[in-house]
């Protein structure tokens, strides 16, 4: 069995937020919840870089360790999913997560948080695969359809790679081999400045 991973090639990411929109619209994510977000450094300056981040689907994940309901679990392929119907919205996973991946929709009684929502790697949840309930609670189950997650599929610059770790690293290694990396990478400088 493979190990599912995301990899964001920061030399290709242009902060178009296509991944965020694709995820939000395609999975009908509640308002104020972002399963995926883009971080930019040195915005507006030469050498600006962006990275798209979501749940990292960690090994030995802190969220699984702290959940008092034990509703978060890891599949054999490394994808971390959770049971929204068991979740009590205590927020411990949010506090334990280094990446701020777990999100909570507001708007319940007394402004209480509802069940946690996070990136599912487009692999649904514990409900029956392709059921209406699964789609309503967790969004699309594209992994079961044999497709990559929505964010990785919609990417204009093909910067976000998702899938089996070995395949992803092969694609990335070939890419880096062809175009170089860091200061040698193809980009503005090599194309125009150093001519």
């Amino acid at each position: 069995m493979g190990r599912m991973k995301f990899l964001c090639d920061i030399e290709r990411c242009i902060d178009c937020s296509g991944c965020v929109v694709a995820c939000k619209e395609g999975n009908h994510i509640p308002v104020r919840v972002n399963r995926r977000r883009v971080i930019t450094i040195g915005q507006g300056q030469p050498g600006e870089k962006s990275i798209s981040v979501a749940c990292m689907h960690c090994s030995d994940a802190p969220c699984i360790a702290v959940c008092p309901v034990d509703c978060i679990y890891q599949r054999d392929d490394g994808i971390i999913l959770h049971d929204k119907e068991a979740c009590i919205g205590c927020g411990y996973c949010f506090m334990a997560c280094p990446f701020g991946a777990p999100q909570f929709p507001s708007g319940q009684v007394f402004g209480a948080r509802g069940s946690m929502d996070k990136c599912t790697f487009c692999a649904g949840g514990p409900e029956e695969t392709f059921s209406v309930k699964e789609r309503k609670l967790y969004g699309q189950n594209r992994i079961a359809e044999g497709k990559v997650p929505l964010c990785a599929a919609m990417w204009a610059t093909k910067s976000l790679l998702a899938g089996d770790a070995d395949e992803v690293s092969d694609v990335y290694r070939e890419r880096v081999f062809k175009r170089g990396s860091g200061a040698n990478a193809w980009g503005w400088n090599k194309a125009y400045k150093n001519r």
Binding site: I41, K49, V66, G89, G91, C97, A183, N189
Partner: protein, 279 residues
């Protein structure tokens, strides 16, 4: 010459190294900057919270609600309760206002403890909607408790101020370790009651503040992590003293519960347990 050459060379390397590190083209630098924005100082409180919640908090609460009742039960069968004649002279100790706010605080606090345990042992007690309801009840009870605790605090603060003889009371554990009816050093409230009072009011205030953060999720996640840690440790201490308080009122001193219902205490009881109380 060599003396200048070596530091000069090191300086040169360091400068070029710095220059490379500062160019945004360098991926390591970029990832380092991303990490600072992405994970922040997770190792500081995030790791601490994760380890405490994973290894300590549920076990701590389990320990508190299992060992303390066992010790109290052992005390009950080994030493037994104290009883005093209640047919003699009676002294008016608690007025109606204090009794009402005491029971308001008592009821809401009991709810806080129960719903708190639903969240801590959510897997067993209340997954899903039950747990979310428990959290809502926890919030409402916390507000009621805060409303009751503030006048209670102001009403009793003078009599609850620590005194030197409280240390003596603690040394002999309030005379509860034997059946002798010897006067113990205590005013209107003994050292045990004082400890419970300060923990429930000042500690309760800290619980209210940290609980508000945990409920409302403020912007800074480190505040949230610290709040969770403080809330759990203080909660364990409060549950422990809460159990002792219930035992003392219901079982350890026969008829002492009546004083919080009618407001009167037996003078015979006061002479032994609260001899320094001037009424």
């Amino acid at each position: 010459m060599k003396k200048i050459l070596l530091p000069g060379l090191i300086l040169f390397w360091a400068m070029t190294g710095l220059a490379i590190a500062q160019t945004p083209e360098n991926l390591t630098t970029a990832y380092r900057q991303f990490n600072a924005l992405f994970t922040g100082e997770w190792q500081q409180y995030g790791e601490l919270f994760t380890n405490l919640q994973k290894n300590l908090f549920p076990r701590l609460f389990l320990l508190v609600i299992t060992t303390i009742p066992v010790f109290l039960f052992l005390h009950y069968i080994a030493i037994g309760p104290m009883s005093f004649p209640h047919d003699g002279k009676r002294v008016y100790c608690y007025n109606l206002f204090v009794r009402i706010i005491h029971w308001m605080a008592a009821l809401s606090f009991s709810l806080l403890v129960l719903t708190g345990f639903v969240v801590i042992f959510a897997k067993l007690l209340g997954p899903g909607y039950l747990g979310i309801t428990a959290r809502t009840v926890h919030l409402v009870s916390a507000v009621i408790f805060s409303i009751a605790a503030i006048p209670l605090f102001l009403f009793w603060i003078k009599e609850m101020l620590p005194a030197l003889y409280d240390l003596q009371w603690l040394m002999i554990m309030g005379g509860y370790l034997n059946k002798e009816k010897k006067p113990v050093p205590a005013g209107k409230f003994n050292a045990g009651q004082k400890m419970w009072f300060w923990l429930a009011t000042v500690g309760g205030g800290a619980m209210a503040v940290t609980g508000y953060f945990l409920y409302s999720h403020p912007g800074n996640i480190d505040i949230l992590r610290l709040s969770a840690i403080i809330h759990n440790f203080l909660g364990a201490a409060m549950v422990a003293l809460f159990l002792v308080h219930i035992y003392m009122a219901l079982a350890a001193t026969k008829g002492s519960l009546q004083s919080m219902i009618h407001g009167y205490k037996a003078e015979a009881e006061l002479k032994i347990l609260h001899p320094k109380f001037k009424y």
